[in-house]
């Protein structure tokens, strides 16, 4: 890490890893940690702190078969809902779900930029199959990698007190870091624009709504998905991560058989690409969804709340990928 001007610290546990990357972020660092399953749960306390303090950071969670220790080193997609709802309270986050090694690289770059743009914790929600996959990866020259710096203060520290939580029109406040002279105060308590504790329901409502809305209202700019043959598809397979690789194979074979099907792959698993799914439903072509996932129905719930159309599911709680022929069978059914 020092070769590229970065620092690595082997922390004592995941509570500490998460706290340390938030502290480093407070000092201006782009910071990152990685974990799997139980470690992600340990990080959840401070995911809430990062959300509340609005300190950008990136966490990769390579999902295993869960709950608890489950099947370590074996595949799962069990943390989709934990990623969104894992810490207590309401707040917004972003989670990217790569389905190839190249995307692991590209989406991690995107994760850092999104974290800085929206001042939120951002997750790279891999699964074990993608995490352990070997494929060709193209890493561009450093200056060709998109870099979006954080929005800093627009006045000198001496001019007037800096308001750490006075948001712009995009609902994101500019950030000042430790050592820059702005004498910021940041707390996990409900706080006012100065960052000072504000122990009342009115301040809480303003703050928590903004923490949710800065992602909710910017979702169209954040959301990413890949689609295949959706223009005329009557059966739409929705799949993410490694599962999307099986799904794509099944959809290709089904099209060869002349079946009217397509695939939608959420790349941002959060915010979930619900606008596109609503459009497909409103267009009236889609007759049903097929949802394979390596959990017992976490993504299905997201689709169920958007539609009353039939949802054919293919679930296992972890340890194996869904086979393409099993998905194909559902498309044919």
């Amino acid at each position: 890490m020092p070769e590229v001007g970065a620092r690595f610290v082997q922390m004592e546990d995941e509570l500490a890893s998460m706290a340390a990357i938030i502290g480093a972020s407070a000092a201006g660092a782009r910071s990152f940690t990685a974990t799997s399953g139980p470690g992600f749960t340990l990080m959840m306390e401070n995911v809430g702190l990062a959300a509340m303090m609005e300190l950008p950071c990136v966490v990769a969670n390579v999902q295993r078969a869960s709950p608890s220790t489950g099947l370590p080193t074996m595949v799962g997609q069990s943390d989709m809902l934990q990623a969104r709802w894992g810490s207590h309270g309401d707040y917004g986050i972003i989670a990217y779900s790569p389905s190839s090694p190249q995307e692991c690289f590209d989406l991690t770059v995107r994760a850092f930029n999104a974290a800085d743009q929206y001042r939120v914790p951002v997750f790279v929600l891999m699964d074990e199959v993608v995490g352990h996959m070997t494929e060709r990866v193209v890493i561009p020259d450093a200056d060709a990698i998109p870099f979006r710096p954080r929005k800093g203060p627009r006045h000198a520290p001496s001019e007037r007190p800096f308001l750490s939580y006075a948001a712009d029109a995009d609902l994101v406040p500019p950030i000042a870091h430790a050592g820059e002279g702005y004498k910021v105060h940041m707390t996990g308590l409900t706080h006012d624009e100065r960052g000072y504790p504000a122990m009342n329901a009115d301040a809480h409502e303003v703050l928590v709504n903004r923490l949710v809305d800065k992602i909710r209202l910017n979702a169209d700019d954040i959301e990413l998905h890949e689609e295949l043959f959706l223009d005329d598809a009557e059966t739409v397979v929705v799949a993410f991560g490694c599962t999307a690789r099986s799904a794509k194979h099944a959809v290709d074979e089904a099209r060869d058989e002349g079946l009217s099907c397509g695939m939608l792959r959420p790349i941002t698993i959060w915010p979930f690409p619900e606008r596109r799914i609503r459009e497909l439903i409103e267009a009236g072509k889609v007759k049903r969804f097929v949802v394979p996932e390596i959990n017992l129905g976490q993504m299905r719930r997201e689709i169920e709340r958007l539609t009353s159309l039939p949802i054919l599911r293919l679930n296992n709680p972890g340890g194996q990928m869904p086979r393409p022929d099993a998905i194909l069978e559902l498309i044919r059914s």
């Binding site: 004592e12 509570l15 502290g23 050592g179 996990g188």
Partner: protein, 279 residues
Amino acid sequence: MTTHEHIRETTANIHPIDKLLRADRLPHILCAGCGIGTVIHGYAHAIAASGIEEDRHVCVSGIGCSGRAAGYVNVDSYHATHGRALPFALGIAVHRPELVVTVISGDGDLTAIGGNHLIHAARRNANINVICINNFNYGMTGGQVGPTTPVGAKGTTAPTGSAEAPFNLPYLAKATGAVFVARWTILHVRELQDAILRSMQKPGFCFTEVLAPCPTSFGSANQLGPGVHEVEIYRQRCVVDNGNPRLEGLDIDLIDENKPITVGNFVDVERAAFGEQGR
């Protein structure tokens, strides 16, 4: 010498050290007779005496009454989650090694929920100064006993007295690798300020325990009376033993009037601080 017949007190609106405090937030939320304010005050004086620009000082706290310290000091300050002040501070110290990072927090925050982080920050000799305010209980949540409650002392969760052996914090800090270890009380205002100042000037993990009264919770559970009565125990029973005494024997017994409470700057040794050897 000029003679002055009648020098009465004058009424003031600000304190000379106010610029280092978030004076617009005073009076603070801490109870009458609580010692935490004295420690915040001492930290501010140590910043002024350090000769290090205010902008290079950072204060991090955890949760609890002592965890409110960061909210009252006018430097870059962070009020982290319960027990996690040290790893949060480590992130700052690693990214900006030129900053002087001080963690002010309580005994419960630093040694119970944060105990693992404490021993590892000391082990790796992280460039962090810890001011651990020890009031022998969880004051904010109603006086539960914790890892520093002396044997026999009462709390809401040990109404007949704590049966567990407490941590001896200077011994713990030394054993796990701190390069500076001190214990003072809020009565030892100048010694405390000097210990904080020494921590600010010394690279590596520096640990100062400060005994402080908690009249509302610990004091009332143990019939110690108002805060000033607990301070009086310190005055009567503290023995200063600077240098390097046998730290094993430094347990605190607030009940037995015959037992001394040893205070002092116990450890001041050199060891490469975290990051100095490059990684």
